[in-house]
């Protein structure tokens, strides 16, 4: 048991600083890296991003001889290199939700909003810090998985593609940018729902449940609607090929950014209005 100090008078601080947006960003960076759950989720994101491309590259190489021409035509090197992005987006989304709902479930949000009573600087700081961390942390594994999967495939002289080929660099870097935007989207959902389970469920519904449900619709409807869903629009960032029923990379990316802005905007309005 620790003991109380003999000093019962509060020492003067000799310092008076205002709340500024950069200071709140620094504070949110302190919060993010000082939690174990952050480190585990990000580590999972990094490992998943790299593991799946390596496995797919190895399996494809070893089975190439026995694959039908149709199967071979269906394989694309970038689908292999970026397979991990589809998986790790869940880890990133869960962490994005937790960044804000973790504060509500523990009561930390009251301390945060007492220190920054205008509240919005906290939302912006969380978004900026999380987005930068995800981008910087996910870009190396995305690049690494591209070059590593290509190295495995090149030993069998199959599915070769160069980083300088048209669209390849955009797709690979786009994979990391997509993960960053998924994180922002999930953070916004978390701020709206304010509950971890609810936030993750909402994210999963939007990204993993609604898209396949579109197949129930008549094909013409499905083709018309699906391309505008957040997950489909965002996917164009890291898809090399596009057809008549998908958006091109830039419109897709802009639409996904728009969805993120919309979710954050709703979160901002609610954050200022609601009781804590």
């Amino acid at each position: 048991m620790s003991t109380l100090s003999n000093v019962e008078r509060l020492p003067r601080a000799g310092h008076t600083g205002r709340v500024t947006q950069p200071r709140v960003v620094f504070s949110e960076w302190t919060k993010l890296h000082s939690l174990r759950s952050t480190r585990w989720s990000l580590l999972a994101g990094v490992l998943l991003t790299m593991a799946f491309p390596l496995i797919f590259a190895a399996v494809t190489s070893s089975h190439w001889g026995s694959m039908s021409p149709h199967e071979k035509a269906d394989r694309h090197p970038l689908d292999i290199a970026l397979a991990g992005v589809n998986v790790s987006q869940l880890a990133i989304a869960v962490l994005g939700v937790l960044v804000i709902t973790g504060e509500y479930s523990t009561g930390m949000i009251r301390a945060s909003f007492t220190a920054v009573p205008k509240r919005l600087p906290v939302l912006w700081a969380k978004t900026v810090v999380f987005a930068v961390v995800v981008l910087l942390l996910m870009l190396p594994p995305v690049l690494a998985s591209f070059f590593a999967s290509q190295a495995i495939l090149s030993r069998h002289h199959i599915l070769q593609v160069s980083f300088s080929d048209p669209g390849v660099a955009r797709s690979v870097i786009g994979g990391a940018v997509y993960l960053m935007l998924v994180g922002i989207f999930a953070l916004g959902i978390g701020a709206i729902v304010r509950n971890t389970a609810g936030g993750i469920a909402t994210f999963a519904a939007i990204f993993f449940v609604i898209p396949p449900l579109m197949n129930i619709l008549p094909t013409s409807w499905n083709n018309a609607i699906s391309q505008y869903l957040p997950s489909e629009a965002g996917r164009q960032l890291f898809s090399l090929t596009h057809d008549a029923h998908t958006l091109s990379p830039l419109p897709g990316a802009l639409l996904f950014v728009g969805y993120c802005a919309l979710v954050l905007g709703i979160a901002a309005v609610l954050l200022v209005r609601r009781d804590t």
Partner: protein, 308 residues
């Protein structure tokens, strides 16, 4: 300085705070006294702008809390509900709060030492006992060296040494010229700490007075007097506003006079006193009487008594 003007807060159709007006002044410890569920915590949340009032207004140091540019230097608050992420260490919790205001790291260390959490500063707050959690909350409240300190039930979970430390700390904060606003549901605790009392029940103000005045009113100046010459003393003390009851031979209970008045009178008449005790024990009862109608949730026994 905290100024509440006709403050009201409703949650659905439940009125937690009802037309509450009061001023908490600097330089003294002001106790905020009321039974559990009387609206103390809600009032404090309204002060901090965590909840918005349904009606009325509350200012801290002359402004709405949200308008302060450096809120941690204006108000330090300990809320009843825990406000700490359970996965973060005490040190990092304080550091994260400090960085919003550019408060340096050494100030965080200073506060950790002040509340005696040095040995556990790197431990996750989720593993803290109630008392350690309280001390972390107090460190957060004092981080910015605020001119107004507002603590909700600060002695809960503290061991006797901690309670004594808290009383001394609160008095020191007031002596520095700060505004100190402390809530409690324990009359006895407030009697020892607070100079001024704001008493509420069911969200309404019942009393707003100095502690000494509240105590003398509440206890009704009951003094227990033991004397070998009790009968003579009884005759001596008799007066229009005084009533004396003989509890035992040589033991009187005097209503309407202070202990010093009785002692002086006895000395002047040359009567020996073996005991002269102001009856503070009745304070809790007096407080209960005062707030009885205002307790939101009565016990089942109390309810059936009321019906019978």
């Amino acid at each position: 300085m905290i100024e509440a003007r006709s403050l009201s807060k409703e949650y659905g159709d439940k009125r937690a705070v009802d037309d509450l007006s009061f001023t908490v002044r600097p330089g003294v410890v002001t106790g905020f006294l009321g039974p559990n569920g009387s609206g103390k915590s809600t009032t404090m949340r309204l002060v901090l702008g965590l909840d918005r009032p349904t009606a009325g207004d509350v200012l801290v140091n002359g402004k709405h809390y949200r308008e302060h540019l450096a809120p941690l230097h204006e108000v330090g608050a300990l809320l009843e509900a825990r406000s700490v992420h359970t996965g973060r260490s005490a040190f990092n919790h304080l550091l994260a709060l400090a960085r919003t205001h550019g408060i340096p790291r050494r100030r965080v260390d200073e506060l950790i030492d002040l509340v005696g959490l040095r040995e556990v500063a790197k431990k996750r707050a989720g593993q803290f006992s109630l008392g350690m959690g309280q001390r972390l909350g107090i460190a957060s409240a004092l981080l910015g060296d605020p001119s107004t300190v507002m603590l909700d039930e600060p002695v809960i979970g503290l061991h006797p040494e901690g309670i004594h430390w808290m009383r001394t700390l609160l008095k020191g904060l007031a002596a520095d010229g700060r505004t100190v606003f402390v809530s409690s549901h324990l009359m006895s605790e407030m009697a020892l700490t607070a100079d001024h009392l704001i008493v509420i029940g069911r969200g309404r103000k019942i009393a707003d007075t100095s502690t000494s005045e509240f105590l003398s009113q509440a206890s009704g100046n009951v003094v227990r007097v033991r004397s070998p010459r009790a009968t003579e003393l009884e005759a001596l003390l008799a007066g229009p506003d005084v009533s004396v009851a003989a509890l035992e031979p040589n033991l009187l209970e005097v209503h309407g006079l202070t202990a010093s008045q009785i002692g002086d009178a006895a000395a002047a008449a040359g009567l020996a006193l073996h005991e002269l005790t102001p009856q503070q024990a009745s304070l809790e009862e007096a407080f209960m009487d005062l707030t009885r109608e205002d307790v939101e949730f009565r016990t089942a026994a109390g309810e059936s008594e009321a019906v019978a």
